[in-house]
């Protein structure tokens, strides 16, 4: 896939020293316009990278080239920091009034979108953690910036309204033509909302590219598992389990366990975990087994059934 979108930041030879290991070490990274997810486990360096992008932190070594849109009459950049970064002395309404491009512009719609309209005269100290998260996101949207950087936004929001608020954030940025760069440790959020992804681990970029491409063809087991549930096959395993050399990573939705009297494995047992099923298989000719994660879209297969693993093909 060819990138046609302009780069917003180029990160070159960045090094931030930590107490015991580097907090971030990036040789080269381009952040494009559009929607980019920064993904990784806790302590991977997501917040550090985002802090550098917004200028909150400076690198000890290396440089960051910034090419934010500045001649559009909009704020070039706004930020949703991990702790909300709310102003304790300002009410909910004043948070939005302080950032909207024209002072008189109504912020009622944005407040209503995030369920804060009944709290507009309340200060952040009197809000719950979830409400503060929502206010921080609402302020970020109201700023109508060219680029919005969001560090684990909506992290304290209850699950019942989490998807709705994410949808508001993403559709709001899309309508305003705002690029969104967000950090998350949830692969599902990245998959749902990002076009591109940067995967971090131990302060280093282990993969970056188009979300769909990396999801289907991850370069390593670590990247595969960072982007969601995966059945990873080392090359020798791929041969033994007869899944084909080209398919080292099979996502659960790609796996079909097909009954086959001459298949290489037999089912030892299985149990369902929500939409997925974990099935324990054992190779016939070797005393080796593994667990396969696949969709629970049919009745559980009987034990001792001989099967082969086939790949369900989706349009790329």
């Amino acid at each position: 896939m060819v990138d046609t979108q302009p780069g917003l930041w180029t990160v070159q030879g960045i090094h931030l020293v930590g107490d015991t290991r580097p907090r971030l070490k990036v040789d080269h990274l381009e952040i494009m316009a559009g929607r980019t997810a920064v993904l990784g486990p806790s302590g991977a360096g997501k917040t550090t990278l985002l802090n550098l992008l917004v200028g909150f932190e400076s690198p000890h070594h290396g440089r960051i080239e910034t090419r934010l849109p500045t001649d559009t009459g909009r704020l070039p950049l706004f930020w949703i920091p991990p702790d909300g970064g709310l102003w304790p002395q300002a009410t909910v309404d004043e948070h939005l009034q302080a950032v909207v491009p024209h002072g008189t512009q109504s912020s009622q719609d944005t407040l209503a979108q995030f369920g804060l309209d009944h709290l507009q005269n309340t200060c952040p100290g009197q809000l719950s953690a979830g409400e503060r998260s929502r206010l921080s996101v609402a302020r970020g949207l109201a700023a109508n910036a060219g680029v919005l950087v969001a560090d684990e936004p909506l992290v304290h929001v209850d699950p019942a309204r989490l998807d709705r608020d994410w949808e508001s954030l993403v559709s709001g940025t899309r309508q305003a033509g705002t690029s969104l760069v967000f950090a998350t440790h949830l692969p599902s959020q990245a998959l749902r909302h990002a076009d591109r992804v940067v995967v971090l681990s131990d302060g280093q970029v282990i993969a970056e590219g188009h979300m769909a491409n990396l999801y289907r063809h991850p370069p390593s087991r670590e990247v595969a598992e960072s982007l969601g549930p995966a059945n990873w096959f080392e090359p020798e395993d791929a041969i033994a389990w007869a899944v084909g050399k080209a398919h080292t990573c099979l996502r659960p939705e790609q796996v079909v366990l097909e009954a086959d009297p001459s298949g290489p494995a037999r089912i030892v047992g299985s149990h369902d975990i929500g939409a997925f099923r974990e099935t324990r298989l054992e190779l016939i000719d070797r005393a080796r087994g593994r667990t396969i994660l696949h969709l629970a879209d049919s009745a559980p297969p009987p034990g001792d059934l001989r099967v082969k693993i086939t790949r369900r093909v989706f349009a790329e």
Partner: protein
């Protein structure tokens, strides 16, 4: 120079030094807040050492330097100011480290900068004047005030540096000027109200400098409605370098050189000291006698502060701490005046007055140490340790007592030790309140220091300073060798409602 002029000069010096110190303590506090516990402990110790070094030792060690600089009063003043800066920076840093983070965190501040001042101006409550109260200034102004207060009250170094240069005594110091009025002109002897005539101005200045700290303490009481940001602005390498350089300079100039100077200067007197020619025996006996009331005072201050904090009486604690925070000279004068007016004759100079005075002086320090060393244990962990102490097996009881010692006993011991250190080396209250037979050994050394330096005085001063350190060293060594007393291990069956586990057959 009149007392009013001395007071004005001292205040000007206090404000100037604190203005220099405030950015420095901001830089020093950040690594402390972000450090790992091991690094943090090392840094805290390095920070505290110059603050714990007695002022009269520093003043004595550098007294010759000020004599050399007597014809260069500006350099003399700058040198004195540098020593004061070294002494007060730890206090300001502790205020920033201990105070709750200001509600307007660095991330919120950065969001404001990203939004731009022209946008923020539209909303009045986002303006800089409101940010002053909610932002970093909320903690920096009280730290500034407390550092200025300590500089304003500095007495010991100024007293040993004070020489006539030109037409006036330098460095200017209201506390020394007032003391000279009391000692040389008998101020307050004819009427205790005379003390007020001269004392109101320094007292008013002290209250003014202390007001922001009291306001911070009052507004920082637990309030679930107040926003507590979690983000700290990450430290930068140059801040690290500034902090490390400052710590090295402060430990070197504030402690290592003065102590090294005592050792080097006293070397010729060591042989005579050991032979007893410099009255080593009586000095040690005097040191021991000085420690006895100090221990009682330290324990009482610790108990009162601990009780007030545990029972959550912040108002009463602040009221009782106020006299101590005003400095020992103000406190001593207030007590002298009160006792002269209200107490039966003769109570002015008595061991009772000394106990009250030093306890009040140590009370705010005890409260600070309780917070700093986290002396008040969490109720849950205390309860679990107590359950273990009453456990059915010796191993559980040992573990219970060991945990109690680690989480509570050790910290209390360090706290009382530090309070004893301050009490033992305190001079002003001792001078104003103690009866002649209870004047402390530190006071005696300090009096002799005014007559110049000599090997005997240097070696004896070193002995006097080392006595409490030797006692602490002895107790720590003993503590390592003595195991948990068997009396604890044999203590009775568990007194809990929980059914003890059944023994296996």
């Amino acid at each position: 120079m009149s007392l009013e002029a001395e007071c004005g000069w001292t205040l000007l010096r206090a404000i100037t030094i604190s203005l220099v110190a405030t950015p420095l303590v901001t830089i020093l506090a950040r690594p402390l807040q972000l450090d790992s516990p091991r690094h943090r402990r090392r840094r805290l110790v390095a920070l505290a050492i110059p603050f714990l070094t007695p002022g009269f030792v520093v003043g004595y060690a550098y007294s010759n330097v000020t004599l050399d600089l007597v014809h260069q009063p500006v350099l003399n003043e700058l040198f004195y100011d540098l020593l004061l800066l070294i002494g007060v920076v730890p206090v300001g840093t502790f205020v920033l480290v201990l105070a709750p983070p200001p509600p307007l965190g660095p991330t919120a501040d950065w969001c404001g900068q990203l939004a731009g001042s022209d946008r923020l101006r539209r909303v009045r409550s986002c303006g800089w004047s409101r940010s002053l109260w909610y932002g970093p200034a909320r903690n920096r102004i009280p730290a500034f005030g407390l550092m200025a207060l300590l500089v304003f009250h500095e007495f010991e170094i100024a007293s040993l540096f004070r020489v006539i240069a030109g037409q006036r005594l330098t460095p200017a110091s209201w506390s020394n000027a007032l003391f000279e009025l009391i000692a040389l002109q008998g101020l307050g002897q004819r009427s205790p109200w005379d003390l007020w005539r001269f004392g109101w101005m320094p007292l008013a200045c002290s209250l003014g400098l202390l007001a922001p700290l009291l306001a911070l303490a009052w507004t920082s009481r637990r309030d679930p409605g107040v926003l507590r940001p979690t983000g700290l602005r990450p430290r930068s390498p140059w801040e690290e370098r500034v902090a490390s350089t400052w710590l090295a300079v402060a430990v070197g100039m504030g402690t290592a050189i003065p102590l090294g100077n005592l050792i080097y200067d006293g070397a010729p007197g060591w042989a005579a000291t050991w032979r007893g020619e410099h009255r080593l025996g009586p000095t040690l006996a005097h040191a021991g006698r000085s420690l006895i009331p100090t221990v009682a005072i330290a324990v009482s201050a610790a108990i009162i502060a601990g009780w007030l904090l545990r029972r959550r009486h912040p108002g009463l604690l602040m009221a009782l701490s106020l006299p101590g925070l005003l400095g020992n000279l103000s406190l001593g004068l207030l007590l002298t005046w009160t006792l002269l007016i209200m107490a039966p004759a003769g109570f002015g100079h008595s061991i009772g007055a000394l106990l009250i005075g030093q306890s009040l002086w140590l009370l705010p320090r005890a409260a600070l140490l309780i917070v700093l060393l986290a002396v008040l244990p969490r109720r849950e962990s205390t309860y679990l340790s107590r359950l273990l102490q009453r456990g059915p097996t010796a191993a559980q009881r040992i573990a219970g007592w060991r945990l109690t010692w680690q989480h509570f006993g050790q910290r209390v011991a360090w706290m009382v030790g530090l309070l004893c250190w301050w009490g033992y080396l305190e001079l002003t209250l001792n001078e104003l309140l103690a009866p002649p037979e209870w004047l402390s050994v530190a006071h005696r050394m300090y009096q002799q220091m005014h007559f110049g330096r000599n090997a005997a005085l240097s070696s004896t001063t070193l002995v006097v300073v080392m006595v409490p350190l030797a006692v602490v060293g002895l107790l720590v060594t003993l503590g390592r060798f003595v195991s948990v007393p068997t009396i604890f291990l044999a203590s009775g069956s568990p007194r809990t409602h929980a059914k003890p586990p059944e023994r296996e057959a």
